[in-house]
Symmetry: C2
Subunit: 344 residues, 2 copies
């Protein structure tokens, strides 16, 4: 294994400094990203490996991050299923025809890899450009999260349609999740073969569910993806939000690293997930706060991590578009500087 | 104290059956409510005590619930501050001019009780009509939740503006919360004097915050409301969602009863809140599921409560408008029937 801070932390091995990367570190808060977006649509960026690679590398040119994450949209696999997705500025993705009729599930076509291959290509390019000690993370939405976009037709607050579908049409739900699981495995395998050093599964909206329902209707599918990717020899991060009440069940996915949001204190979350690495968990809003407050929040997380091997510093969700790149630079420096001298 | 199942459970005294009431038990899922709403606006209902009383009593005429909750809108106290609120069908309340400029806080007028008095009047009417063993619950939004509506201008997913305000303008935040706290206490005092047997504080969106921020910027104000209401001799329920990661901090509000959502298992939540009563925690979506599944979910909650005194059965949030009244009738019956014969 290459001596990467990030990969060592995934295996809970000691590192000289706490590794740090940020969800959505490539994105709207960067003027160079916005400049590209003036010329290209989101899908253009995803479909052209050189562009996706460029966007992936943008934050790495600015900040001494310990990992890059390939730039792609979480809904690309749905495009591979022939589903029409439009990306409305500010509103997030919108699905032309949300899946509501259970009969539709059996009619989903075999996935067309054309939409997925450029992501693998981008990974190949980025891996060549990055120094070996900087890890490159591949990613995909977990099957439940993909299903929720497909059924809701976009972002949602309550995930009511998804839950209703799940409760009413259990057979079709299982069939749908199976197809999305196979697709996700195929997609992530392409990424790993292309050079991804680790994979993050976004089970982002799992917190909409009661623990029992997650355990029964979601966990087995996420587990299957985790196992398949691990068999390729790379570690897996499972990230979710709103699951503080059942982190032990999320840990049962078997992932090496559990990503947590800010709705729980890091030490308490770590206790709940047991012998695994932990990723998190600064509320992205702190990057909009005065530095003295940001200092305090970062210090609190590092103090709770207590210098134990296996902590990867990250936000509890993506960087907000309103964030100043200067604040991100400051945060990354802070984490590296303080990781071995947490002042109490 | 009157021998009410609900009030006994608040004090963790044994009851013959598990008491049950449902958040939004008076509302859109009832045809008789929709019939009234064809003739009256939401504000009309809130401003006319006879109408509010009628709506409050509607579910009690149908189902053997153990408590009524006065019908009112959570934003009435904002109207008392002269803030323009419009109620858009389906979209929830919209605030004409969201509070974004910190200077505005010092310009908030003294509250005008005209908007609040009808709620107290409705309580007086309902208390006379209800048999003494059925408790009548008053309610208000907790100061943070009121502030979040005021600052966001309506419902929100991320509560970004609220958190940003809190982090940037701490002095004005404290001033705002103090005013909202005073207003809430005044409002709830009117309700208790009018005959409310207990009070529920909706700290609904507290789960948007990291535990440390809740502890620092929200908890003291909720605590103050709880103490003031307790000094009037009635028990307080503090309800929140998304707080499974810091229920111990929510319990530090000092409320007799902690209301929890479905994102945590009831026995685990109870362990976290310690020696208090607990209210919850069925995901409202189960009321849309086949009865065999609903049975299983209700049974699981009752089994986790284990017949210990101090469990008040409720949903983890409000009844969904799509719910059939028959399912509600079935649920209430189920809870009463099974509460003392939980089959394992």
């Amino acid at each position: 294994m290459v001596d990467s801070r990030f990969l060592r932390a995934c295996c809970r091995q000691p590192t000289d400094k706490t590794p740090v990367w940020l969800m959505r570190q490539a994105g709207r808060y960067l003027p160079e990203y916005r400049a590209l977006r003036e010329r290209y649509s989101l899908l253009d960026l995803c479909r052209h490996p050189e562009l996706a690679a460029e966007v992936t590398l943008q934050p790495l040119r600015r900040f001494p991050l310990d990992a890059a994450i390939v730039f792609a949209d979480i809904l690309l696999p749905l495009l591979a299923l022939g589903i029409e997705v439009t990306f409305v500025a500010g509103d997030g993705p919108v699905i032309g025809q949300p899946l509501r009729d259970p009969i539709t599930v059996s009619r989903l076509p075999d996935p067309d890899e054309t939409e997925l291959v450029p992501v693998a290509e981008a990974i190949r390019i980025v891996r060549q450009e990055l120094p070996p000690e900087i890890a490159l993370i591949g990613f995909a939405g977990a099957p439940f999260t993909l299903a929720s976009y497909l059924i809701e037709g976009g972002s949602s607050r309550q995930f009511l349609e998804t839950k209703r579908f799940l409760l009413r049409y259990r057979t079709e739900w299982e069939l749908l999740l199976q197809q999305l699981t196979d697709l996700t495995i195929r997609y992530l395998r392409l990424q790993v073969v292309a050079g991804a050093d680790a994979v993050q599964l976004f089970d982002s909206w799992a917190g909409a569910l009661a623990p029992a329902l997650y355990r029964e209707a979601v966990l087995p599918w996420t587990q299957r993806v985790v196992r398949e990717i691990q068999s390729l020899g790379v570690p897996v991060i499972v990230f979710s939000t709103g699951t503080a009440g059942f982190l032990d069940v999320v840990a049962a996915t078997g992932a090496e690293v559990i990503g947590v949001d800010w709705r729980i204190e890091l030490d308490w979350a770590w206790q709940l997930i047991g012998n695994r690495a932990i990723q998190g968990n600064l509320d992205p809003v702190w990057l909009l706060a005065p530095r003295s407050d940001l200092n305090r929040a970062v210090q609190d997380i590092l103090r709770r991590a207590g210098g134990r091997p296996g902590h990867i510093f990250n936000l509890g969700h993506g960087v907000l578009p309103e964030t100043s790149p200067d604040q991100v630079a400051y945060l990354v420096e802070l984490v590296h500087e303080w990781s071995f001298s947490p002042q109490d």
